[in-house]
């Protein structure tokens, strides 16, 4: 009985397993659909207005684009069994402020500098957690602290402004455009409906991430490392490398997210990116990815991000105060995790 349960758990091997996996992923979108229906119901009841409009749905997706970018990257870390990458907020802030500082030289040097910083942080995390097997939560919290210290020591209490530092006006406009560039304008004839760069980036990253995770051998190795680490080792998977590589992926998306957030707020500061670690973890967990690793998918994470966007939207349309919204989000988070944990237990996996 237990053997069968374990065989079922490997979604790649049997048709039945693939179907269950499919249902799991659909499950998240089913939940998202439920929220959409809730929104419709509330609108019909007169509690909220204008929920069911194309513009509103576009807004919802647009507003969670940055969270989506960061969450997809962090989900690689989760999928490989390292729980979460808590260094994301200061990675975002540091790469953003470095980019602004390097605008003095030019736009592309600034982008390169930002990615250099992000990669260094990712590499450090990769070595310490991958090779030396430090506890990922504790280590990434420590790195978060160190990077915050670096920002504070180098820039003391200053904020730096892109338009004041940039070498030419074109450079500063290019930086501004990271958040604001309209890649596709005038969808369906509506001049206001346009897809901006963050949203396009998120879609691209989701697609790439999903392909990597489900169809490449790298993805397979990640899954094995996350779900059965010792087995992975004995089948020849370089567990240390895989674990480390996941952190590098997370750092890359954090850098992208950091550039976008910094572009939005038009200032290089230590507080850009604050809160993204918890929000990303929430999205990942709601999206069905188990925190112990090896279970879930990128499409699922996208579903989780969309659910968060829907919840935020509905709560603001109702008029619930922001801090009460936090409480509701926390409750939903625990409930989803609890349900997830119970269903995993029935499959024989004890740890969610």
């Amino acid at each position: 009985m237990a053997d069968q349960a374990i065989a079922k758990a490997d979604a790649r091997s049997t048709a039945q397993g693939r179907f269950i996996h499919f249902v799991n992923v659909i499950g998240i979108y089913f939940a998202a659909l439920l929220f959409v229906l809730l929104g419709f119901a509330l609108q019909a009841a007169g509690v909220i207005t204008n929920f069911a409009s194309a513009q509103n749905f576009l807004n919802i997706v647009d507003n969670v684009a940055m969270l989506g970018i960061v969450a997809v990257g962090m989900s690689f870390v989760t999928y490989s069994g390292s729980m979460a990458d808590m260094s994301v907020p200061t990675t975002m802030a540091l790469s953003g402020i470095v980019a602004v500082q390097f605008l003095k030289v030019g736009f592309w040097p600034a982008i390169a500098a930002a990615f250099a910083v992000g990669l260094v942080i990712g590499l450090v995390n990769a070595v310490v957690v991958g090779r030396f097997k430090a506890n990922p939560i504790i280590w990434t919290l420590a790195i978060n602290y160190v990077c915050m210290g670096i920002i504070r020591v180098v820039w003391v209490n200053k904020q730096i402004y892109p338009d004041m530092i940039a070498s030419t006006k074109d450079v500063s406009q290019a930086f501004d455009a990271i958040y604001r560039l309209e890649v596709v304008k005038g969808l369906g004839g509506n001049p206001l409906a346009s897809l901006r760069l963050p949203l396009v980036m998120m879609v691209a990253i989701v697609i790439i991430g999903q392909i990597v995770l489900s169809r490449t051998s790298f993805g397979a190795q990640l899954k094995l490392t996350g779900s059965a680490r010792k087995a992975a080792k004995f089948t020849g998977v370089n567990v240390e490398l895989i674990t480390g590589a996941a952190f590098i992926v997370a750092a890359i998306t954090a850098t992208l997210g950091g550039l976008t957030v910094t572009s939005l707020s038009r200032v290089g500061a230590y507080y850009n990116g604050a809160g993204y670690d918890f929000r990303a973890v929430t999205a990942i967990v709601i999206g069905g990815m188990s925190l112990s690793g090896g279970r879930g998918s990128i499409i699922g994470v996208l579903g989780g991000v969309l659910i968060i966007g829907l919840i935020n939207n509905i709560m603001t349309l109702i008029g619930i105060p922001t801090l009460s919204q936090d409480m509701i989000r926390g409750a939903i988070f625990i409930t989803v995790v609890g349900i997830n944990a119970k269903s995993l237990r029935s499959l024989g996996r004890d740890d969610a």
Partner: protein, 398 residues
């Protein structure tokens, strides 16, 4: 024996005369100190934005009588906020030390701010400019938004026995015990910037800072006038408030200040929403774009507590929805806010001089050392910045 006694008497008398002379010398030096100190002219000092650093507000604030129970009044009644807005004017001062009136030169002041932020950097700069002009030794401590650390710094400051302490309390209510501790130690206390609970004012020499309520009321009128101008004849103008961090005095002053002002001044203005998304541009974008979905063309105005991150978020949401008709005013004044005013997006912001805030508290302390009478409350100048005059406020202080 007699000879010895007379020698002793002589030496004693010489000693007393010498002491007397020495005492006179000290007091003469103190007098010289005082004269030199009084000669210092701080009115020529300028802040980074080329405005005068120290300008005492020329308008006298009209203090109405305190209603018997302000809490019982409606939130939209200006007098509901009496204790907060007029804190300090009705203070019953307790045990305030006497000024030594020997000039400010060489005095030591410890300045404790609330946390690290570019605003605070500018504030400290203003304080240092005045301290330098008055030859005051200034030490600055920042607790980085942590109440336990601020308490620790107050303890350490008391231990160093400075001639005065200038403090921005982190929390309006916790300020009471903090002020009391300093008062018990006999050190003159000058509170500034953040309005505190009324009781805290009993323990300080004076409070200086922006008249947040007054400024925002003034801004509200400008805001209402413009909304009425853009929507002539409208029976109802729906507005929304983007609030400050809950709990502090700006949270109340920048939301209920305008709200209660307009309930009398412009009765067509109706509040339909208020939210506190923090100082996060992307959260503000989400909240405002959802408001636009919810209220559509009926939304005529937004009042923001912050003209930097919140204002940026507001205008991103506007751009996405293609709305350019909404009148937005905010409490200022950061670089991003002034840029938005210059672009014609933000209609008006208030001038909140960070340097002036720090400068005024040191100046007040210096005046106290010079023996002048100090009013219990001193306000910073109130100015409304619009596109017409924004250029005179560049370069921005922070």
């Amino acid at each position: 024996m007699k000879k010895a006694a007379s020698i002793v008497a002589f030496v004693a008398m010489a000693g007393i005369c010498a002491c007397g002379a020495f005492g006179q010398a000290l007091s003469a030096q103190q007098k010289a100190n005082l004269e030199a100190s009084l000669k210092v002219d701080t009115s020529v000092l300028k802040s980074a934005d080329n405005q005068s650093l120290i300008v005492l507000s020329s308008q006298k604030k009209v203090i109405p009588a305190r209603p018997a129970d302000p809490d019982a009044l409606a939130e939209t009644d200006p007098l509901h906020w009496y204790d907060m807005e007029y804190a300090g004017w009705n203070a019953k001062k307790v045990n305030i030390p006497q000024s030594p009136a020997d000039g400010a030169i060489g005095k030591k002041i410890i300045l404790i701010v609330h946390g690290d932020h570019p605003w605070t950097t500018a504030c400290t700069l203003g304080a240092m400019k005045v301290a330098q002009a008055c030859s005051i030794k200034l030490k600055v401590l920042s607790p980085n938004w942590d109440l336990a650390v601020q308490n620790q710094m107050i303890d350490q400051a008391i231990n160093e026995k400075p001639d005065a302490i200038c403090l921005i309390p982190l929390d309006a209510k916790a300020a009471v015990q903090q002020a009391r501790k300093i008062n018990d130690a006999g050190i003159p206390l000058f509170l500034f910037n953040t309005l505190t609970q009324a009781d805290a004012m009993n323990y300080c020499v004076a409070w200086t800072g922006p008249d947040d309520f007054g400024q925002q009321r003034k801004l509200a009128r400008v805001w209402a006038d413009e909304m009425q101008k853009r929507n002539p004849g409208a029976k109802e103008l729906d507005v929304a408030y983007v609030q400050h961090a809950p709990g502090g005095s700006p949270y109340f002053a920048r939301c209920w200040g305008p709200m209660s002002e307009l309930s009398g001044y412009a009765k067509t203005v109706k509040t339909v929403a208020k939210e506190a998304p923090g100082f996060d541009a992307d959260k503000a974008t989400q909240v405002v774009s959802d408001w636009l979905t919810r209220f559509g063309p009926g939304l005529k105005g937004i009042f923001a507590a912050d003209d930097s991150a919140q204002a940026i978020g507001i205008f991103e949401a506007f751009k996405k929805a293609g709305r350019t008709d909404i009148v937005v005013c905010a409490a200022g004044n950061s670089k991003q806010g002034m840029d938005l005013v210059k672009e014609g997006k933000l209609f008006a912001i208030t001038y909140q001089t960070a340097e002036g805030d720090g400068a005024l508290t040191i100046k007040t302390a210096a005046d106290w050392f010079n023996g002048k009478a100090i009013e219990p409350v001193r306000y910073l100048p109130q100015k409304i910045i619009t596109k017409a005059n924004v250029d005179s406020f560049y370069p921005p202080q922070w």
